[in-house]
């Protein structure tokens, strides 16, 4: 491998793919392992879900052999609309609360001394190290009708005797916020880190009030972080399954639960697939808006900032 016999075109030193690796063959052979894996275990199953949504259900719970549009039509009937709406508004509420809490926290941590920052970030990340289900279980203890929180609130008089904190939408929202909050804080912190705070100084010098400076300078400045945080909470929240199942009540069934119910209990795989397609479309909308609104550069930047923050842990 003599450096002299490359067939490279001259290229700048800072970007030099040619001397490294023999062109196309090297590139393709290094790309194939992960690409093939993902194509086979991700892209193909995803395509299958689309296809299966158009098939009939076998009465014994398998996938039938004929094609039909009936299942898709089923999915657009009234009952599903209600669940779709419920899923969207709950996810939205959870995301909004997470953002409301994450922005001050991200700001505060980014304004601390360097030696404290890493420890503070560690504190934010540690709860994620506990198992997801165990965190939900801990909340069931906390929100129990005879648990500390409720008895305290009832005795102070904040909530009346017949209001419960568990097995309803309140519990689902509280636990969902808990699960996603750390993920929201990290990108906002990363963006806040990169924010030039002298801009705020300048704004104040020019006479802007505190609130104006905050809304017009700071928030747009950390826009990338906010958008990343929004997506990183909203999209998984749309697909919630375990949280409504474990702490929700009868009126808390979300799309994720419906999919699981159809697949497992109803033995109707095509319908499960059809609902999945609907969920995927619901997710695609904010995501495509993000990609085309910001361009790939931003996606890269956002993801990079966030992964950097995480990988610095």
């Amino acid at each position: 491998m003599n450096p002299a016999d490359t067939t490279a075109k001259p290229s700048s030193l800072t970007h030099a793919p040619s001397p490294i690796g023999r062109g196309k063959f090297c590139e393709v052979s290094l790309t194939l392992p992960s690409l093939l894996w993902l194509l086979f275990f991700f892209a193909v199953p995803a395509a299958m879900v689309f296809a299966i949504a158009f098939k009939t259900a076998d009465s014994s719970g398998g996938i039938g052999s004929s094609w039909t549009l009936e299942t898709i039509v089923e999915v657009f009937n009234f009952n599903y609309a209600r669940i779709m709406w419920r899923t969207v508004w709950v996810s939205f509420a959870v995301t909004a609360i997470c953002l409301l809490l994450a922005v001050p926290v991200g700001y505060w941590i980014s304004r601390q001394d360097k030696k404290y920052k890493n420890w503070l970030l560690l504190l934010v990340v540690i709860p994620l190290w506990t198992n997801f289900l165990i965190r939900i279980f801990a909340w069931r203890l906390l929100l129990h009708p005879d648990g500390i929180i409720r008895t305290a609130l009832v005795s102070i008089g904040i909530i009346p005797e017949d209001v419960f904190l568990l097995n309803n939408m309140t519990a689902v929202i509280i636990v969902s916020v808990y699960t996603h909050l750390s993920f929201a804080i990290l990108p906002i912190y990363a963006a806040s880190e990169r924010f030039d705070f002298s801009l705020l100084e300048a704004a104040r010098d020019l006479g802007a009030g505190r609130f104006r400076a905050f809304c017009l300078i700071y928030l747009p400045g950390i826009k990338r972080g906010i958008i990343t945080a929004f997506l990183i909470v909203f999209i998984p929240a749309l697909g919630s399954y375990a949280i409504p199942d474990l702490v929700g009540g009868i009126d808390c069934e979300l799309l994720g639960n419906k999919i699981a119910f159809r697949a497992m209990a109803n033995r109707n795989l095509p319908e499960a697939a059809a609902i999945s397609v609907v969920l995927a479309c619901m997710i695609a909308i904010p995501f495509i808006a993000f990609v085309f609104g910001g361009g790939r550069k931003r996606a890269d930047g956002g993801a990079r900032a966030e992964t950097e923050a995480i990988s610095r842990q």
């Binding site: 014994s60 005879d146 017949d162 419960f164 097995n167 009868i250 209990a265 109803n266 033995r267």
Partner: protein, 344 residues
């Protein structure tokens, strides 16, 4: 960095080795939780020098979905009778060699004639009969009337649960209205739906398993549950009591089956035979608090349970209660109602 990698590899190797396990044959069961006396399981392991692993499911449909999707590797499964029918029709079960299970002769003929799916007992052997009834906290709620109508009123606060099983819960509403819980009539089902939409307001949650812990911890004050589970909890907690609704309940029986492709068929047959021994069956009855259709086993029950209401099914109950049957294509009607109840 290299050292760490080396340690990790060594650790991984250890884990793999231990995951391989000893060369004793392993019997794999797929059944409901808390459904077998673990002391008996241990006894079997020692007697036959093997390992027994138990995986649990909480609904027949889920078990069916997993097995249908290719989850073979189980030697014994304990589905409910209506699911046995479906699985048999799908050729998922294999006939057992009754020469290896002589204790099957103790199963009550009257039960076999009336309820058993396979009267020759080759495809399925009955294990335990149960019914779904109500348990409540009498300290908090006082005495309650013996009807499904307790769900129809908000007198008992909001700490109530119903089963998260479409046939059981819609069945309860049907029984309340005096209809059969296997009905195919659209009119009757519509009435049941109205009833359930009313009950929904008073119910906190639909729960298939956590009602046990819930009623014991005070999270719920009144639950619909399976009698064995409920009696297990009642034993430990004197504040609780059970109620059998006068309109009737759903009966169900879980059967021993061996699926096609079971790796250890003969060992499985020995296990079933061991469990069917009257003395052992009695121990299982005491542990699970369900009823085995085996008169011979009743003789081995401890005295306080021999003639107790808790094990022996009272006649009035038997008469008013029905077994849940699979309804084939009419299942879709129940699914639709269930959807509407959950979506409202």
């Amino acid at each position: 960095m290299k050292k760490i990698a080396a340690y990790l590899c060594a650790f991984a190797a250890l884990v793999c080795l231990s995951a391989c396990g000893p060369s004793k044959p392993t019997l794999r069961l797929y059944t409901w939780s808390d459904y077998l006396d673990l002391d008996l399981v241990k006894e079997f392991e020692q007697k036959f020098d093997c390992k027994v692993v138990i995986d649990c499911f909480d609904s027949n449909e889920m078990m069916y979905a997993k097995i249908k999707a290719g989850g073979s590797g189980y030697d014994i499964i304990q589905p409910t009778t209506y699911m046995v029918k479906i699985m048999a029709e799908q050729n998922m079960l294999q006939p057992m060699n009754l020469d290896n299970i002589p204790n099957a002769k103790y199963i009550d003929k009257s039960y076999i004639d009336r309820f058993a799916y396979d009267k020759t007992l080759k495809l399925s052997i009955p294990y335990m009969i149960g019914y779904a009834c109500i348990a409540y906290n009498k300290k908090q709620l006082g005495q309650i009337p013996d009807t499904w109508g307790v769900y129809d009123t908000d007198k008992y606060g909001k700490r109530l649960t119903l089963l998260n099983d479409m046939r059981e819960t819609i069945g309860a509403a049907l029984k309340y209205k005096g209809y059969s819980l296997n009905t195919r009539s659209d009119k009757e089902l519509a009435e049941a739906k109205e009833v359930l939409l009313r009950w929904k307001k008073n119910v906190s949650r639909l729960e298939n398993e956590a009602y046990k812990g819930g009623i014991a911890s005070g999270e719920f004050y009144l639950v619909q549950g399976y009698k064995g589970d409920l009696f297990q909890v009642l034993d430990e907690n004197k504040d609780l009591d059970f109620m059998l609704p006068r309109e009737g309940m759903s009966l169900s029986c879980d059967d021993w089956v061996i699926p096609v492709g079971a790796p250890n068929k003969e060992l499985a047959e020995k296990f079933i035979n061991f469990m069917l021994e009257p003395a052992n069956n009695a121990k299982n009855m005491v542990f699970t608090m369900y009823t085995a259709p085996m008169e011979e086993a009743m003789k081995y029950l401890p005295d306080d349970l021999k003639n107790s209401n808790k094990i022996r099914l009272p006649k009035e109950i038997m008469e008013k209660s029905e077994m849940i049957e699979d309804l084939g294509d009419d299942n879709a009607k129940y699914i639709k109602i269930w959807d509407e109840i959950k979506a409202d």
